[in-house]
Symmetry: C2
Subunit: 223 residues, 2 copies
DNA sequence: CCCCTGTCCGTACGCTGTACGGTGCAGCGT
DNA sequence: ACGCTGCACCGTACAGCGTACGGACAGGGG
């Protein structure tokens, strides 16, 4: 059987997925087209369909490629809070490198098993801290939603034009109907992204988690 | 000038936007097509472009129509925590009626000034509770990200097929590489949406907000 | 009556994802 | 050395998308 040596002919699932991921990160989700990707690879459009059944399958593979870049060394010490924060910050860093991931995740949940690499460390920390499985899952979910949501709804990727549009909309709000918002366009604009904003919210959530963790460790020491 | 009475001929910006919103809510974002919307209205496709310069402008108008459905009676008493929770739950209810809103928001921030109707009450509560403007904005932003993120990443709208895919992926994870996750497929699946999950996270975040509010009210009483 | 203005829409263009079927080369049996 | 077979590649085609252009047609003012 002529197995395994056909990759000498340049193309393969891995290469295509990586090229798709690059394109995604550089130009955004809507810019990734089968034709444009094929051009970039110096291939014909339909060649890609020899490796992936559909565009969706290709996108899944690109997600898998991005996720494989993430590795977490589990042995950093410190409090549960510090370790959770470090982990979530690491996830965010990865998402900043691959900004297309949250958008893809919004359309369809992770199909790639490798995607669980991201959540495993945090789940483990919570279980080790005494959270019962269901609450650990719920707690992790809050962090998950916040970290991904910050990427998607925090406009780190806003056009200058969009920024101007928001500012303009804020300025012409009637003061009497929006007394709170109309007075603070600058604060609102500042709150819409950036590392300071992310850290503020992360710490706020970690406060809540820490309080619950204290309850659990107290309960287990009673036993 | 023949101004104002042309709506007698059935069509108008308002009707079109409302029809678009219905279509969005019933069939999802990707199902809304200029052609299909025109058919539904009994009009030609290009007629719509007489009322909206582009599909994007139409989508913005649909967002505006959805947001106008939301009214908040500001006078409910109770603690800051209770009022914030009631408000965020009301927002979530509106989003459940119009599930397309978070997806639209993910692609482009709110251009409709009316969208600020949603955030005004919460901002006001935070300012009244003594939060300085910048921190109020940051705090609100955390709630905002969580509420929208819960809609988008919580799979309230998951296909049964997708659900099965996740479950299958979870079941064939190698236990040695994912010791935490592989043991709790059911808990994880349960954590991915639903009102219980949402309330858990909302209360967790409100804990953090309440702690900060206590600090602010203490500071203001010192003065 | 005619013309003018404004609403409506048929047609067309360039784009998308993808099905189908052909082309050309690598490797093999003889 | 030769012909066959299988497979990687891709040219072409089709339905559907957003939307530009220009024509059809109705209603009101001269």
């Amino acid at each position: 059987m002529s197995k395994g040596n056909r990759t000498r002919t340049a193309l393969g699932r891995e290469e295509i997925a990586r090229a798709a991921l690059e394109m995604l990160d550089e130009e955004g989700v809507q810019a990734l087209t089968m034709r444009r990707l094929a051009d970039r690879l110096g291939a014909g459009t339909m060649t890609l369909y020899g490796y992936f059944r559909s565009k969706q399958e290709l996108l899944d593979a690109a997600v898998g490629a991005a996720v494989e870049d993430f590795h977490w060394s589990p042995d950093t010490g410190g409090s549960l809070r510090d370790r959770l924060r470090a982990h979530q910050k690491a996830v965010r860093e990865m998402l900043l490198v691959h900004p297309a991931l949250p958008q893809l995740r919004a359309h369809q949940p992770m199909v790639q098993p490798a995607a669980f690499r991201l959540s495993e460390p945090a789940m483990r920390m919570l279980l080790d801290a005494g959270f019962p499985p269901e609450e650990a899952a719920r707690t992790f979910r809050v962090l998950f939603v916040y970290v991904l949501g910050s990427m998607l709804f925090g406009p780190d990727e806003l056009t200058a034009e969009q920024r101007r549009g928001i500012k303009a909309a804020l300025l012409l709000l009637p003061d009497d109907e929006f007394p709170a918002i109309a007075r603070m366009p600058d604060e609102l604009a500042a709150s819409m992204g950036g590392e300071v904003q992310f850290d503020y919210g992360l710490d706020l959530i970690l406060d809540g988690i820490e309080a619950r963790a204290a309850r659990h460790s107290a309960a287990s020491s009673h036993q």
